[in-house]
Symmetry: C4
Subunit: 284 residues, 4 copies
């Protein structure tokens, strides 16, 4: 009987693998969708638990749901380890670590209070949604965004360095000018105000009162207004470059008369009428 | 006499059709302009009705105007149904449903109170303005904007997903750090604050008070500041691509010497002097 | 004697013309610079006059300066009319009307109180600064900006129409949801709040308090955040197009081998070594 | 002995030069890194000194650290002068003046109070960080940003002039409309409010209360919303142009058949199969 089990074992494992890790079969897709909704549900419960009026009325129900979800996720986690031939690779992968960290807070809450809210780390598990949707498409787009950011990293470092220096110097100046009596009680608080201002958030919990402070604040605002144009310009510039590169690769030439064909849907050369050959295959 | 009526009927219907649905004749244009002003008028009345001082003085006048407009719009609606050969197609079209919904609230207000303000749905009826103006021009521009948004939908989904995750995790962290005594009374409220901050709106009705909360808020603001660059870059990138595509289609080649002609207003080839033929006709 | 005067007259007029309207001679430049500083001075006086502490101390000095400036500007205005052969053309030109309107408030203040601040219309007179600087350069740049705005006017109209509809409908919804007890006392005030929110200004003088109101506000903010990408994308797209058009016109071709020369500073063809001819003269 | 010293002297100086000014040797790199951390440390101390609770407890430690850092920086400054053959060139260079100004406030604080915070000028010394990192790369990127800003300076001047005029005129109008009872106590304060609004910061410390004031504020906000698109568009346009110029220089042509090669990694001509020669060497 043990031998029989041993033989059947890989078969079960393979079937489970298709369901738990695959998304092509109906069962695999169903598993992933249930999982996603369970994640959303468990996040909603943590969120609602924090609303006092709701918690007073549904405290018990919230606790039960929270434990049901956590136990389900624990079973799923163990299942993943059990199915894989090389479980350690999964355990120490990005998604594996997130899956584990998403379980810890609830168990910890048995011993320590206050940490239960950390289960919102489960939000990162929602990344699995890209596996159900056409993954590759999103990946190529996300990669393009990533490329744009990576390509402009030096420009962005220069930019962030400039902003931090401005905020540091302006924060100190405002502390000296306005002083504690107008809410600028320390340089760190003054720097916080500078960031609130330069990013155009402007809570208004601290605001300059002296004429000189307001003049300096006006300059800071106009700087922030001008500065926002820079990262936008950088990222846009890179995206346009990526787009251009992609579209340049799509320009074909007629094999007969060497004319450039700009229209990607043309089938015949607009100059000599020869049939065009699909000679450049782009696979981004 | 009935037969006579029956014969003349289509004639009347055609004339009415030209006035109500057409915009090319003076009468048709006049009808549409009167309709638009009536819509604007009825919206203004609802708006002013909500101002207490005005309502106390002009309550009766407002009610009369509101009913006059509603009855006029009802007549217009019935007229449209009466004129068309296939009225059902109109009734269930987008504009047809809006036209109907724009009538309902006033009639409903006879039985239920509070819903009268829903007549602002009439604002959507103002879309008809594009029919008076050169419709096609606006359509092609709106379509270009739409194309840009559709083409960048995967990038935008990735972007929105990222923003929502950031807001969820940061909202929970701020709730744990600042707590109810600083206004972060629950996670949903804390998430609301995160959205207020990351979009750089910054009401200031809730604001962090602890040093750690202010540090986290600063990071969130700088993230929001950087993040805004991404959708701008995406939309701009697409628009530039559309523009480039359009302008590339406008480049002509000389039929004699095959030189590319970049200047859209050139009449003779700059290389060999041959007269250029208008060979690419763009109809976007 | 009258005849003599009559003869000398045109000579004086021509000399004055060169000083008052011209900018190429030292005297003409000096006149314009003095005029600009006088305008700045008179604006500063109006500005400082409104600060109570300053006005209490320097009321008399302010009044004298204000009248001195106004009389000087009046003389200048009459001089311009006197010099020109066709003064009416100037009087009814844009700058002429502004010059006149900039004088009126001070004289009016003899009869009516409160209007004296309208002299800030003089700020528009500062446009003359472009005459001293290299006018043409600024004009071509300003024109390029203008072109970009004009070329994208249909897109911008569609955009503004969308924003206004959103603000109208959202304003009414917030009025119904939040009501007068949370500061949304009327629909116009509610629309004002919507504009404050969608533009990410966020004063915080009115802020939603109910959960539903805060949810709606969050959606509005995220919309505003996304919407700002659109006009930026439109304007940028047009500017990039203008830039591309300009740079495309700068591409030359070698007359010997027909190779495209991309480098605007190349003097010899990179393919065949022939000397390049400056064949495309761009005059934007 | 003096002669011996005299001979050895240049040797010591050269060694010190390599350490203090160079970054290629381990010792030179170590020196720069220590220096940077010392600058960060001294800035942190000034920042923390301004927090009252911290200052009360660590006042003595802060003072000692502050003096230790200042003395170290003084030694470093004298060392730089001593090492160089032409020290005056360094003393009056940008970095030299900053190095000097960064020392002054601490010494001044012996005689005058309040100026000690000005040591944050040391933040500018952090620019040295670019010397440790691959300087040239950052420089070329920073220069590209700089080029984009310089190339668009006329457009930006036109833009800033427009914003200032709008703010001046709107500020006066709001002062006349809202008046001192709603917080618009003077025109300068009103202009400050306009800048707070048009940059979408929106503190809410001053906010319009009358209907007319709120209408004008709405217009100002929508203007600010539209206006932000302009500098973004300008900077982006320039960056795209720079990118395009760079990528255009990277387009090669086949020497055999004259076909344009768009793919920067192609090794053989896609038309005739000839081996491509790396003929365009770009050194930005």
């Amino acid at each position: 009987m043990e031998g029989k089990d041993y033989k059947r074992f890989p078969e079960v494992r393979r079937k489970l693998y298709v369901i738990v890790f695959g998304t092509d079969t109906p069962a695999g897709k169903f598993f992933d969708i249930v999982l996603l909704w369970a994640i959303v549900g468990s996040i909603l419960i943590v969120t609602f638990e924090s609303v006092r009026e709701l918690n007073e009325r549904f405290e018990f129900a919230f606790a039960i749901f929270e434990w049901v979800f956590t136990i389900l996720f624990s079973i799923e986690y163990l299942l993943r380890i059990f199915i894989l031939k090389k479980p350690l690779k999964y355990v120490f992968s990005f998604l594996g670590i997130i899956d584990f960290l998403a379980l810890v807070p609830t168990y910890l809450s048995l011993f320590v209070t206050g940490g239960a809210y950390l289960v919102v780390i489960r939000a990162i598990r929602l990344l699995r949604i890209f596996r159900i949707l056409k993954l590759s498409r999103y990946l190529s787009e996300a990669q393009m965004l990533g490329n744009a950011l990576v390509a402009s990293r030096y420009k962005l470092f220069v930019f962030i360095g400039t902003v931090l220096s401005v905020v540091l110097i302006m924060g100190t100046l405002m502390y000296v000018i306005e002083g504690a009596e107008n809410g600028f009680t320390s340089i760190p608080r003054s720097i916080y105000w500078c960031i609130v201002t330069i990013t155009t958030v402007g809570y208004g919990d601290i605001a300059p009162n002296t004429i000189m402070g307001q003049t300096l604040a006006s300059i800071l605002m106009l700087m922030g207004y001008a500065i926002i144009a820079v990262p936008t310009g950088i990222v846009t510039g890179e995206l346009v470059k990526e787009n251009t590169k992609k579209s340049m690769m799509e320009i074909r030439s007629c094999h007969s008369c060497n004319t450039e064909i700009n229209d990607p849907e043309a089938k015949y050369c607009k100059e000599c009428g020869n049939k065009l050959i699909e000679d450049v295959e782009v696979t981004l």
